[in-house]
């Protein structure tokens, strides 16, 4: 019965989300929603490795940048269509994720965030200085939007308008949620949570922790690359800063403030923070200062973010323990 109710609620929610561009005609707010969609994908990708496998990957923003640059360059230099460049860009990102995950995931505890931070800085410098390929500090400009697709009966769908990009990004958000949801509710997901709890214990139980961590890392970089590829085509320009660890911080903010280790948490964070950004626009550069303070206070008082806070409040009302 409960499951059925849940499905009805979800369907209703999805219907509302589908209708948003028909109700809100303001281009500017639609743009924010498209960006939120891209942030949702990237936040979910970070949450997979951080929230489930318990590994703080500080290079996730760099993988976002790799996906963005790979997709952008495949379109611009090789003349590939977006529909081919995007999957190739994601695969390329995942390949880099796999190759770099093998050495970095051998480390534990303090060493993993440090190793990934160094990895992120190294890759950032390659992107920022490899002028011949990435355009260096100038960045990449004039990246195309996805090619129109012709559908039988429905006619051609073009992706020039913000509304069409909204639906495009929404499609990939749904794909990401479904894949990650399936993954974490599978046995492999349970193994990841065991690793998060206590890696040595998980290993003693016969879990090949290294293999599971590498697979999780590779999948998580694949989705970071997906978010990057969508970003490249939607924004039509890229700067080396997009691959900087500042991007990793933004993802971390979305995940932590929304609620780490849940599916809904990073989604809430990635919708809530860009909207908050608009409200805090008058603060200029101080906005990120406020975010930093919010991040520290969240971890201090609400370590499981907004979702954790709501669960705690509900548990108090019903007299339960929350988690």
């Amino acid at each position: 019965m409960r499951e059925k109710k849940k499905i009805i609620y979800l369907a209703l929610l999805f219907f509302i989300i589908l209708l948003i561009p028909q109700v809100i005609k303001d281009e500017y707010y639609l743009h924010i929603f498209v960006m939120s969609g891209i942030w949702i994908i990237s936040a979910l990708s970070l949450n997979l490795i951080l929230g489930y496998a318990g590994q703080l990957n500080l290079a996730q923003g760099t993988f976002f940048g790799i996906g963005a640059y790979a997709t952008g360059l495949l379109m611009q230099k090789m003349g590939l269509s977006f529909w081919l460049a995007l999957p190739l860009g994601c695969l390329f990102t995942a390949a880099i994720g796999f190759i770099t995950g093998l050495p970095t995931l051998r480390t534990r505890g303090h060493y993993f965030p440090i190793a990934t931070m160094c990895l992120g800085i190294a890759i950032y410098y390659v992107i920022a200085r490899w002028d011949d390929v990435t355009g260096g500090a100038r960045g990449l400009f004039g990246l195309p939007r996805p090619d129109p697709i012709a559908l039988p009966w429905l006619g051609t769908i073009s992706f020039e308008s913000t509304v069409s990009c909204y639906y495009l990004v929404l499609f990939f958000v749904v794909v990401t949620i479904v894949v990650i949801q399936r993954l974490i509710s599978s046995l492999a997901g349970k193994r990841l949570i065991a690793i998060r709890g206590n890696e040595d214990l998980a290993q003693a139980l016969g879990i090949n922790t290294m293999r599971d961590k590498v697979i999780c890392f590779t999948i998580s970089t694949f989705f970071a690359g997906l978010a990057g590829g969508l970003f490249a085509s939607y924004m039509s320009s890229l700067m080396a800063e997009n691959a900087h660890f500042v991007t990793s911080f933004e993802m971390l903010l979305n995940v932590m403030i929304g609620g780490v280790g849940t599916i809904i948490g990073p989604i809430i964070g990635a919708i809530f923070l860009p909207l908050l950004s608009e409200e805090l626009h008058f603060l200029g550069g101080w906005r990120l200062v406020v975010y930093g303070i919010i991040l520290i206070l969240t971890i201090r008082f609400l370590p499981f973010g907004i979702v954790g806070g709501i669960r705690l409040a509900m548990a108090k009302r019903t007299g339960g323990k929350g988690f």
């Binding site: 480390t107 534990r108 931070m117 190294a122 200062v289 991040l295 370590p303």
Partner: protein, 286 residues
């Protein structure tokens, strides 16, 4: 020969900076068990304080350096007290993220207050000394000598004073230190202050040579982590030796191989090192 020697001097100069920053980082790590990702950002704040003391308030160079050192000592103590202390009994990952949050706060404060433009201030002397066909600016000599003296003083402080011994005891075994009547939270605060003060001195020393801007700490903190991983996290001599080694290595790579991918090469080497030895060169296996 001239170029080789010149490169070596520049390498030692850069190594002096790295050694001081890495020493601060390793001291903080040793006692708090937290890799302070915001250490490079504090280095940047130190540079700005020296800049304003010297350029805006007309303080003499050495006074500016000391002001920056003292202020960062106080800031370090406050940060430990307010930001890091509530997380000691929480999962490790929380303090990592708090340190990342601190970067956001400090760096964007600097960016909002002082803008992104590059700044520089003058050193006490712009003389150039010629030794065996090598031109050394006085400032480079000042960096090398001051760093060496300061590192030696920190060493003496830890080994020869009661306070230093208490700090070392806390880093070796906090519970044991507590039983011996050492106030370990006070030791943590003082160590954090010393660590950030060292970063401030390093920044004030290179202010006349390198450029000051809000993101100046990024590469330095990355290098400092490379150094303390190579030298063994928490090890005093590892950090100092590693600092000089990486400084010299970086300068040689820049001069003889490529000046575009220096960081990529060094960070790449670190990732490879960790692949072979996941706990660093001198770290114990898990």
């Amino acid at each position: 020969m001239g170029i080789l020697l010149q490169t070596l001097i520049n390498g030692i100069m850069l190594g002096s900076v790295y050694a001081m920053v890495a020493l601060g980082l390793t001291l903080i790590y040793g006692i708090l068990n937290v890799p302070n990702f915001a250490h490079g950002t504090l280095y940047m704040i130190g540079a700005y304080i020296a800049y304003f003391a010297i350029v805006s308030f007309g303080a003499p160079y050495w006074l500016g350096l000391i002001i920056s050192m003292i202020l960062l000592f106080v800031i370090g103590i406050l940060l430990e007290r307010i930001v890091f202390r509530p997380f000691y009994d929480k999962p490790l990952i929380n303090s990592f993220i708090v340190a990342v949050g601190l970067i956001l706060v400090l760096e964007n404060t600097a960016l909002s207050l002082w803008g992104p433009e590059f700044r520089q201030f003058a050193g006490p002397s712009d003389k150039v000394i010629e030794v065996m066909g090598v031109m050394i600016t006085a400032q480079r000599l000042i960096v090398i000598i001051t760093a060496a003296v300061l590192i030696w003083l920190v060493h003496l402080f830890i080994k020869k004073t009661r306070l230093g011994a208490a700090i070392e005891a806390t880093s070796q075994n906090p519970d044991g230190a507590l039983l011996m009547g050492i106030n370990i939270s006070q030791m943590r605060g003082i160590t954090f202050g010393i660590g950030t003060a060292l970063a401030a001195v390093a920044a004030a020393l290179v202010g006349p040579i390198l450029l000051i801007y809000p993101a100046m700490g990024h590469t330095v903190i990355g290098m400092a982590f490379v150094i303390i991983i190579i030298g063994g996290m928490g090890s005093f001599f590892g950090a100092v030796l590693g600092g000089y080694l990486i400084g010299i290595l970086e300068t040689f790579v820049t001069s003889y191989i490529t000046n575009f991918f220096t960081e990529a090469i060094i960070f790449g080497l670190l990732v490879l090192l960790l692949a072979v030895r996941p706990t660093g060169l001198f770290g114990k296996p898990h």
